[in-house]
């Protein structure tokens, strides 16, 4: 566990000092909200439209952060250091997924209130606790998948191009479940029925792909 904590702390310190990923993701998300406002020509959103706009924006913003996830490792020899160190390789995956998870949470803490300010009439505070549960489960799945696919894409020639191509289809279940769980929460009046089923789907996805990523990651890190 100590190597995981060390790599994670390194990533978070680097992010805090350079402010490379999270601010860009947040700016991107806010700009996308504005784009949606003009694209849909709507001032207020509710129900499924609100859930869709929110989650599509968060997913695309997540791609920005995922693309940057292994760049420092590749450019400055971090991979060699980790391969030479006497630690398990999967600790890199866990640390990177942890870093991505905290970026996504930070992104949501910024983007959710702005989304509410822009698009929601009321009921945001009421929905917030449940919305955070949805976000945490969805972020976990995105973080695991993102860390796994970023470590695949970083070794290919067309890496920034390949990552969204791989990530988008694989995260469709996360999008379905997150958007469907958010839809009743952002409806007016708020409903809570049916949210539990989608939380279970999200948790199942997290479990399956978390275990899978843990099992295959070793093979990505040899040589």
């Amino acid at each position: 566990m100590r190597p995981v904590a060390a790599i994670l702390r390194k990533d978070l310190v680097v992010e805090l000092r350079t402010k490379e990923s999270v601010p860009s993701m947040a700016i991107f998300a806010v700009t996308t909200f504005v784009i949606f406002h003009f694209g849909l020509d709507r001032d207020r959103l509710e129900g499924e439209l609100a859930a869709g706009v929110l989650w599509v924006t968060l997913l695309f913003a997540a791609i920005l952060g995922i693309n940057r996830l292994f760049v420092a490792e590749r450019e400055q020899g971090g991979f060699d250091g980790i391969l030479m160190a006497p630690i398990e390789r999967t600790s890199l995956l866990i640390a990177k997924a942890g870093a991505l998870f905290s970026y996504l949470l930070a992104l949501e803490l910024i983007a959710l209130p702005i989304f509410a300010l822009f698009f929601l009439s009321d009921g945001f505070w009421e929905a917030l606790p449940r919305l955070l549960v949805v976000a945490i489960l969805a972020d976990f799945g995105l973080a695991v998948m993102g860390a796994l696919l970023a470590s695949i894409a970083v070794h290919t020639r067309a890496r920034d191009l390949l990552l969204p191509l791989l990530l988008l289809p694989l995260t469709v279940p996360v999008m379905i479940a997150a958007a469907s769980a958010t839809k009743p929460l952002l409806s007016i009046p708020m409903e809570t029925s049916g949210v539990g089923k989608w939380l279970a789907v999200l948790a199942l996805y997290d479990l399956i792909f978390g275990l899978l990523a843990y099992a295959v990651f070793d093979f990505l890190m040899e040589d």
């Binding site: 695949i152 791989l166 469709v172 379905i176 479940a177 996805y205 093979f219």
Partner: protein
Amino acid sequence: MLATALALVFFYAPNDADQGFVQKIFYVHVPLAIVALIGFVVAGLLGAMHLRTRDDRWDYRSYVAIHMSVIFGVGVLITGAIWAKAAWGKWWVWDEPTLVSFLIVFLLYVTYYPLRYSIEDPQRRARYASVFAITAGAFVPVNFIAVRLAENLVHPRVLNQTAGDMPGEMRLTFLIALAGMALLYVTLVKLELTSKHARGQLRRLRRLLEEEGSSSGAAPPPIVTVPAKPE
């Protein structure tokens, strides 16, 4: 086998009361889809075999299985669209979980090619392709469950008990068509593997010839044809 199936489709199986003749595309579309999906999952297992044994042949098998399944997938989407046009009046409908899941799976596997071709080191390529095959193979059932939950059931579930009202002749024809399609898939995979193997051998021989020709400086030796080993 496939010819038998086709003959049965045209002469034996009764026309669907509701949809008439067009319903016969069902005997092509559904077996294609089932075989393609099984091919994707099998490719994941082959990828796991590669990671376990480090034998490049497993990676080639996994690659060819995905390749064939993608080609079958194109067939599924096209025949499905024709059937949808005939049965529902639209080329594409979004409220069909099976259609949407298949499209997502297809889009995912299409990215296998850019992934594979953008890694130069052959060993790394084989390993990464296998990891992709495993991840995507596990994704196929998860995706179908998730999309199914999201939509209503409209797509005909032909083989389960509640909707198992297919008359005997239809069921027989369908099963034979399914077996025929599976055999076609296996044959094509075998053929592609043989051709890949032969091409690899040819390239190796040609390189040998070139080296010999440049080192001796004499006239190039006559080209010998080597019969490719099957498989």
